[in-house]
Symmetry: C2
């Protein structure tokens, strides 16, 4: 499952800096209700940190605060993870910053791979299509038409940063002063963390390190 | 609105060979109920002509039979036209065989252009993405992320026929002995007919020549 700007990048970052679990939820209210002394809250509405949250959804800003669990409530990514986890046996969390690690993990498995692009408010998001295409192009076997199209996006001229920057989400982040997040998320395979959904229960998808 | 394999190609062909109107409907039953002495029926289920129909959905096979109206019932394209016509002011019918003519017509208009890809059973179809990308790349103005991705498909190496042939729909047509339809539909700008929805009433979208 891919939401490059920015939920899946944030989850990779959170596990990389030492959180043991990321609890993905669908609403701000649910996140606030889950707060305990051992949990911190991250997320966004309109790209910005919700009131009373510890962090926004800028992955670079996520840091260890002595808590074991990070609760994540974003507009598109965290609800998509909850829904994907309800129907799939194994859900891995992919971004550009952990691309190679995800591919290694997928290669260890068997069966079909469905790459779920979070998108934005139900619409296709270019940055997710780009990473989906990078993943698809590195896998063996038959491809759906959507995977073939995503591969065309991944193979288009220009760098990852150029493609991500052309997306509507990048423009929206730029509009709220968060253009640096796009650069951060456009770095390739700099983390070896592969997050995986461990359980989904009552609308909370618990994500841990698979590797 | 684009359904290259094959509904929009069939509509262009029907008007080119002399039908005055194409009546797009959502079901086989509706098509059969509309039959009169001045109407012939075309369409498909599973790619093949339904029983009692005059034609399948192979555009090259559509010929004038002295009737003014062709009733078209296909699985994806004709229902999509009916639905698009219910929400848009102007609906033009695009294919690869009338690409330049559609672009000329669009250039005469004003306002936003939404390119609707019919797809297949609710899924993205590569051939529609290709033609959408060809259209988008020739238009001015801001593009959605989906339009940018479609342009990547249109700009990928290889001919139109190669891209269309890589689609799941092309494989399905090949599987029922209709591979020649793909070649026929992959010819570019060989017709100057631009079909346009004139009215939509009780689930019947009436398509005529806009130019």
């Amino acid at each position: 499952m891919v939401d490059v700007l920015r939920a899946t990048s944030t989850i990779v970052r959170a596990l990389a800096v030492g959180y043991r679990r990321v609890l993905c939820v669908e609403t701000i209210e649910r996140a606030l209700a889950l707060r305990t002394s051992d949990r911190v809250l991250a997320g966004e509405r309109g790209g910005l940190p919700p009131p009373e949250f510890d962090f926004g959804n800028s992955p670079a800003a996520i840091e260890a605060r002595g808590a074991e669990e990070l609760v994540l409530a974003t507009t598109n990514g965290s609800p998509t993870i909850v829904r994907a986890a309800a129907v799939a046996d194994t859900v891995l969390i992919g971004a550009l910053i952990n691309l190679d690690a995800v591919l290694e993990r997928v290669a260890e498995g068997e069966g079909d791979v469905l790459i779920v692009c979070s998108g934005t408010d139900g619409r296709f998001a270019l940055e997710d299509g780009y990473v989906a295409g990078r993943l698809s192009a590195a896998l063996a076997g038959e491809r759906s038409d959507a995977a073939l199209a995503a591969e065309c996006v991944a193979r288009a001229p220009g760098s990852a940063l150029e493609t991500l920057s052309a997306s509507a989400d990048a423009r929206a982040l730029d509009g709220v002063g968060l253009a640096a997040d796009v650069e951060w998320c456009a770095r390739e395979s700099v983390e070896d963390v592969v997050p995986q959904v461990e359980t989904v229960h009552q609308g909370v998808a618990t994500v841990v390190r698979a590797s």
